[in-house]
């Protein structure tokens, strides 16, 4: 029963389920560091899921799908940037509005395009590390993944480096903690925040595209299914550390796989319970460890030069 293929599938299932959370979470973390609370993440993921699917389906190339997904996320984020960063509208109002808008539009589009045909994509080839991926059990688990998974891991490392080791990282922290200081020293707070928000959108869109193109192979309305909000929580819990987002995302994927695994072996725990576990655990840790989630001081505040 617990055959090799089964274990591998469980593990890969966890990875696949965690990937969208990782990508979106990394993005959210980026804009949060720069002081923008991006509540519209769910919308950006969903837009990415739709566009990614359409592109992959029309072109037959998953790669184009991912690109399109990232692009769509970026477009949604552009509204966020325009309204919240440049025009300083309320970040929560706009964020939620974007979620609703994308939910509505993608569902409409799906209705118009696919509600008769329900097209589906073919499976995607994994990128295997030559040699290593041949190791029994571990090989396929660790060294043979969808290209985007590798990208996600690379991004995690890149972000960690960027935050600690580059001027940009320092500038980001300044933009999130004391934008006025960055501004007074010749930095461009608005430009920086716009760029981070756009990047966030692209990452979230990629995450969504991963859901529809790589994981599901189909698009159905609302398929991002709350992942955007979970990603926001992950990003905040990670206290600015990309590696923690990675850990959190995989934990979630794992808990989903675990549900299935238990059911398949006939242990029937209510799904609701297992899905509560990750959050329940986190809350418990917070209560016991009681550490501050040190969010940027200016998080959610729009920057206006010389305002009194």
């Amino acid at each position: 029963m617990l055959s090799e293929t089964f274990l591998i599938t469980l593990f890969l299932g966890a990875v696949m389920a965690g990937m969208p959370l990782l990508l979106a979470g990394l993005g959210e973390q980026l804009s949060e560091r720069a002081g923008v609370l991006n509540i519209g993440l769910e919308g950006m993921m969903l837009a990415g899921a739709w566009a990614g699917f359409v592109a992959a389906w029309a072109s037959g190339s998953a790669g184009l799908g991912f690109l399109a997904g990232a692009g769509a996320g970026l477009v949604v984020a552009a509204f966020m940037a325009l309204f919240c960063v440049i025009m300083a509208l309320n970040q929560i109002v706009v964020g939620i509005a974007l979620v609703l808008a994308v939910q509505g539009l993608t569902a409409l589009l799906h209705f118009v395009q696919f509600s008769q045909s329900y097209p589906r994509l073919d499976g995607m080839q994994a990128w295997a590390v030559p040699g290593l991926s041949q190791i029994p059990l571990l090989g396929p688990m660790l060294f043979s993944h969808n290209p985007v998974v590798w990208l996600g891991l690379a991004l995690t490392a890149a972000m960690a480096f960027l935050y600690r080791q580059t001027n940009l990282g320092i500038a980001l922290q300044a933009a999130g903690d004391r934008p006025a200081a960055l501004d007074a020293l010749g930095g461009n707070v608005t430009r920086l925040r716009v760029l981070t928000v756009l990047t966030t959108g692209a990452l979230a869109g990629l995450g969504g595209a991963f859901m529809s193109v790589a994981v599901a192979g189909v698009f159905v309305p609302f398929m991002s299914h709350g992942n955007g909000f979970i990603a926001i929580v992950l990003a905040m819990l990670a206290r600015g550390r990309p590696l923690w987002v990675l850990g959190g995302a995989f934990l979630f994927g794992a808990s989903l796989s675990m549900t299935t695994a238990l059911q398949v072996v006939g242990v029937n725990v209510p799904v609701d319970v297992i899905q509560m576990l990750p959050f329940a655990m986190v809350m418990l840790v917070l209560v016991l460890a009681g550490r501050k989630a040190n969010l940027p001081a200016a998080l959610g505040e729009s920057f206006e030069r010389g305002a009194r």
Binding site: L37, A101, G104, F111, A280
Partner: protein, 353 residues
């Protein structure tokens, strides 16, 4: 500068009107384009929305009924946001409270309690449940300064799952196979107003939101909350019991959201089905912001929102436009109103110079 002196009162009025009408117009036009793209006639669609959401008696009654719970959620959010507490966990608080009320009320009814008493009990249960679900975030924020956006969101996820679990395992109605709680008979629900179908939940909502508004603007307690919200350090310096106030805010806010859940069940739904989650608070959050956390403004926005959702639902159905379209309209409304608010503020600032 100089033209500022030329602006007459008439022109001023016109501009104010524009700030009000402008956004609506924009929504209508943008939405109209989408409708055209969908091959529907915008005019008949909008006519429908207005007719079904506001003019037709049954539509208006539905709109007003829907306002009740939304207004209560809004009141809870107003308290929290004015006190600088980001309670984004409304959905969990709402659903859990609704489930508890739905579980209790029918039992009390079978036990032969008088209706008014069991309704009181139900509402109280809802409020207490909601407040209870905010205790952890409150303590974490008050004691450890832990940001409540995270904790309330997580508690919301937990609350929704727990509510489902309770319905499926604990409070199941034995008389049916559908996983739902026992149903509170219509005659035992919150009374309807006069001989309409409007639930008195509307009254509760209106009274509460106005009371909350007065509390925040006219009372010492309200000012204390606002000080804590505007500058916690100043609050400490002024000798306010910040932790206690913070906890009070969470309790009040979540309590009212919970009350909304109870009102929805006891006034409208009658029972709760497994896996049901209307996610109201997600749509109410932006509304109270647009109203600038002002109670009266909130009433207006909530009315618009309810009318729109009721009207759009039926228009969608009758004109072959998928109901998803109403989501788009709501989103457009939020953004255009936010924009007009933005330009209005900017204009005021300029005109002060």
């Amino acid at each position: 500068m100089s033209e500022r002196f030329r602006t007459g009162a008439g022109r001023e009025l016109a501009i104010q009107a524009l700030f009000l009408i402008g956004p609506l117009l924009a929504v209508l036009i943008l939405g109209g384009l989408i409708l055209l793209a969908l091959g529907a006639n915008p005019f008949s669609y909008y006519a429908f929305v207005v007719e079904r959401g506001m003019l037709r008696p049954s539509g208006l009654e539905a709109t007003l009924t829907r306002m009740g719970p939304l207004l209560l959620i809004a009141s809870g959010l107003i308290i929290a946001f004015r006190a600088g507490v980001w309670n984004l966990g409304g959905d969990g608080q709402f659903l859990l409270a609704a489930v508890m009320a739905a579980a209790l009320a029918p039992l009390l009814h079978q036990a032969g309690w008088p209706v008014w008493l069991l309704l009181m009990a139900g509402l109280l249960t809802g409020a207490i449940t909601g407040a209870a679900w905010a205790v952890l975030p409150a303590l974490l924020r008050a004691r450890q300064g832990l940001n409540e956006i995270i904790t309330t969101l997580m508690m919301s996820f937990l609350g929704v799952s727990l509510a489902n679990l309770l319905v499926k395992l604990a409070f199941l109605d034995p008389t049916t196979t559908t996983p739902q709680t026992r149903t509170l008979p219509v005659e035992a629900r919150l009374p309807r107003l006069f001989d309409t179908t409007i639930s008195s939940g509307l009254l509760i909502g209106l009274v509460v939101v106005i009371l909350v508004h007065l509390m925040m603007t006219r009372t010492a307690f309200g000012l204390r909350l606002r000080v804590v919200g505007a500058n916690p350090r100043a609050a400490l310096h002024a000798g306010l019991a910040v932790p206690a106030l913070t906890i009070a805010v969470f309790a009040l806010s979540a309590g009212l959201v919970g009350l909304a859940g109870a009102v929805d069940v006891l006034g409208i739904q009658g029972n709760i089905r497994a896996d049901w989650n209307p996610a109201y608070s997600l749509s109410v959050v932006p509304l109270v912001f647009l109203a600038r956390l002002n109670g009266y403004g909130t009433i207006v926005y909530v009315f618009l929102f309810s009318a729109l959702s009721i009207g759009a639902e039926s228009a969608a159905r009758r004109l072959g436009v998928p109901g998803y379209f109403s989501l788009v309209i709501v989103a457009l409304m939020l953004i255009t109103f936010a924009l007009s608010d933005h330009f209005q503020k900017r204009r005021q600032r300029l005109s002060q110079i």
